[in-house]
């Protein structure tokens, strides 16, 4: 079973700031890490490989320094790593990123499963995973908290919802996005670290993956960020105390007031 894990290098969450002029994330001086949700994707990929055999290929799109998280992925048990990197990709939104990654995945060709973290902690969009599946036209199961079974080209997985979970069965190849409930990521192994240090990281440019120029980078990104701001905190709720008959009436009156 060949598994592709899509990962992203992000600034360490606790230190993210936004440039008020450009509306972009300020990355300078902030430590870059593997998106924490992607570490669950790596772990799940490596566990599946240990169970079913095959290999795990880590893929990221980003600047050359994103190579660091690919080496980390190898130290955690991934077998190969591909860096999709080109100036032409700069300014990509989730659509263009999903497109570029899916072109890279098409080039890898031989895969049964794609695993992504549920979202990246910098943008928090949760769109790239589903975007890849849509572009590749393969099924997707988002917010997976447990893979129940994989056999005969079919996968059964539990998908978290706000009020419970759904069990979904679909055909392989498919794409999963995973939540942190799915596993506890391991720490790197010494053998893995030694391997990671000398591993050759494959690097693909836009032309290598046959990406259409109009669909990548800024050109391929219909998203325009007009403003980024911290939403005002939710106002405190009101608690009505006392006899039910009285408080229910108070509540109704208060609700009326909200809608007039």
């Amino acid at each position: 079973m060949n598994i592709i894990v899509c990962i992203k290098q992000v600034p360490d969450t606790t230190e993210v700031r936004i440039d008020l002029v450009t509306k972009n994330l300020v990355r300078e001086g902030v430590q870059a890490i593997t998106n924490p949700f992607d570490t669950y994707a790596i772990e799940e990929g490596v566990r599946l490989k240990e169970k079913f055999g095959g290999k795990v290929i880590a893929v990221t799109m980003g600047p050359p320094q994103a190579e660091a998280i690919l080496r980390e992925a190898i130290s955690l048990g991934c077998d190969e790593a591909i860096l999709v990197s080109d100036r032409a990709f700069a300014g990509a939104d989730t659509l263009a990123t999903g497109y570029a990654l899916s072109k890279a995945i098409e080039k890898i060709k031989d895969y049964d499963l794609i695993i992504c973290g549920k979202q990246a902690i910098d943008g928090d969009t949760a769109q790239v995973g589903p975007g890849i599946a849509a572009t590749l036209d393969i099924p997707q199961i988002t917010y997976v908290r447990k893979i129940e079974d994989i056999k005969d080209g079919t996968i059964v997985a539990e998908r978290m919802t706000e009020d419970g979970y759904e069990v979904i069965e679909t055909k392989l190849p498919c794409l999963l996005t995973v939540v942190k409930e799915i596993n506890t990521p391991r720490l790197p192994s010494l053998k893995g670290k030694i391997k990671a240090k000398s591993a050759v990281i494959t690097s693909w440019k836009a032309v290598d993956i046959g990406a259409e120029e109009s669909r990548i980078g800024l050109k391929g990104s219909p998203t325009w960020v007009l403003n980024i701001y911290t939403p005002p905190p939710r106002p405190k709720g009101q608690i009505f105390e006392g006899e039910a008959q009285v408080t229910v009436n108070q509540l109704v009156e208060a609700a009326k007031g909200l809608f007039h």
Binding site: R186, L187, P188, S189, L190, K191, G192, K193, I194, K197
Partner: protein, 384 residues
């Protein structure tokens, strides 16, 4: 820290062990100290990261390093919890006799599972009446056809009961004294091999310490390590190699205590300022830091000497163990002092370092025995 010019691989070991200590060990150290449960989950983390094999030849599934690599790992783990660290390094103590004196068959049979961390090892020498005077041991091994029959009791055995593979020293010929001792591998589950109660200890409480009880325990003759009568010398050679590891544990404890003391001194305010602003505290910390670094330098030098297979490493490894453990005790005590009343409370980490430090002055040869070794070596050297 002084730049000890570590190789890339040694840096990886140190960094990985530091990561394990920060992310996994430190959060659970107080809990294991309290519950005295064996830290199997921590052993699993170390095994998964290939750390049980850092000192074992790749031929037997290890990473090919030596005592120095083992020291790096032990030191880092000890910064977080010396109890958890000793569960790890005591397995190496159990494995050393096999590495040093075992046959190829014995190495192939036992080392791979130790290197993978699938099985823990332990070393059994100490007996109720044979502590510093190891030659006074009473446990016997009597040859009977293809077997040896072991009878006797070993006590204070680290990893006792939790390890699977035991290297045991027993008398095959009592009339010959120390020259009548032999080493055996005894596996857990061998009929006649049972365990006594778990000891309730002052420190290193995450580690298990039990009696090993042999009652007509039949051990196949293939399990004899080396030849009959070489057990005592093998044990002494094992200690020559393992002492830097205790030194490394002591350095880790001392560094851990020092780190906590600095952190606390920077945040604790009295008389309107942080206590680290007081020259008195700075001088204490300066002494502590200098002693920790001196201990580390001595331990590293001694470990490297062992790995370089220098002849007669005994004196230097005794110095390393003795000095580092005395430093650990002093630094940990001073750390408690800097914490003041809070240092005496279990809610804060300082007192645990102090309790854990004490054992490093006692086990694998008390520091008085280390001084004997150094003294004897000085006499020998001066007679040349």
């Amino acid at each position: 820290m002084i730049d000890y010019l570590l190789t890339e691989e040694q840096k990886m070991i140190r960094d990985l062990c530091r990561q394990i200590t920060d992310e996994k060990i430190r959060p659970v150290a107080a809990e294991y100290d309290k519950s005295e449960k064996f830290p199997w989950d921590m052993m699993k983390v170390m095994a998964q990261s290939d750390l049980f094999g850092v000192y074992i030849d790749p031929k037997y599934g290890g990473m090919g390093g030596g005592v120095f690599e083992l020291c790096l790992a032990t030191e880092e783990f000890s910064r977080g919890c010396a109890g958890i660290a000793i569960c790890y390094s005591a397995s190496a103590l159990g494995a050393y006799p096999i590495i040093l004196h075992g046959s190829e068959e014995q190495k192939m049979k036992y080392l791979p599972s130790i290197a993978k961390g699938e099985k823990l090892a332990a070393f059994g020498l100490t007996e109720p009446s044979a502590g510093s005077d190891a030659s006074a041991m009473q446990t016997t091994a009597v040859k009977d056809g293809d077997h040896y029959i072991l009878n006797g009791v070993k006590h204070f055995i680290t990893n006792g009961g939790d390890a699977e593979i035991y290297t045991i020293i027993a008398m095959t010929d009592k009339s010959r004294g120390a020259r009548g001792a032999s080493l055996f591998v005894v596996e857990k589950g061998t009929p006649g091999f049972t365990f006594g109660k778990k000891e309730d200890k002052l420190g290193i409480r995450a580690s298990s310490t039990r009696e090993l009880i042999f009652t007509d325990c039949r051990v196949p003759k293939e399990n004899l390590i080396g030849r009959e009568g070489t057990g005592f010398i093998a044990a002494m050679r094992t200690f020559d190699m393992s002492r830097p590891g205790i030194g490394a544990q002591a350095v880790g404890i001392a560094q851990g205590a020092l780190d906590e003391a600095i952190k606390y001194a920077k945040q604790r305010k009295q008389f309107g300022q942080t206590i680290i602003s007081n020259q008195g505290i700075q001088w204490m910390l300066a002494d502590m830091a200098t002693e920790v670094e001196a201990a580390r330098a001595l331990v590293y030098a001694s470990a490297r000497e062992v790995d370089a297979k220098v002849k007669d490493v005994g004196m230097h490894s005794a110095m390393a163990k003795m000095y580092a453990s005395d430093v650990a005790m002093k630094v940990a005590t001073d750390a408690v002092q800097i914490f003041g009343g809070y240092g005496y409370m279990k809610e804060y980490p300082a007192e645990k370092f102090m309790r854990d430090a004490k054992i490093t002055q006692i086990y694998e040869g008390t520091n008085q025995i280390q001084r004997n070794i150094i003294g004897m070596a000085l006499i020998k050297e001066s007679a040349r």
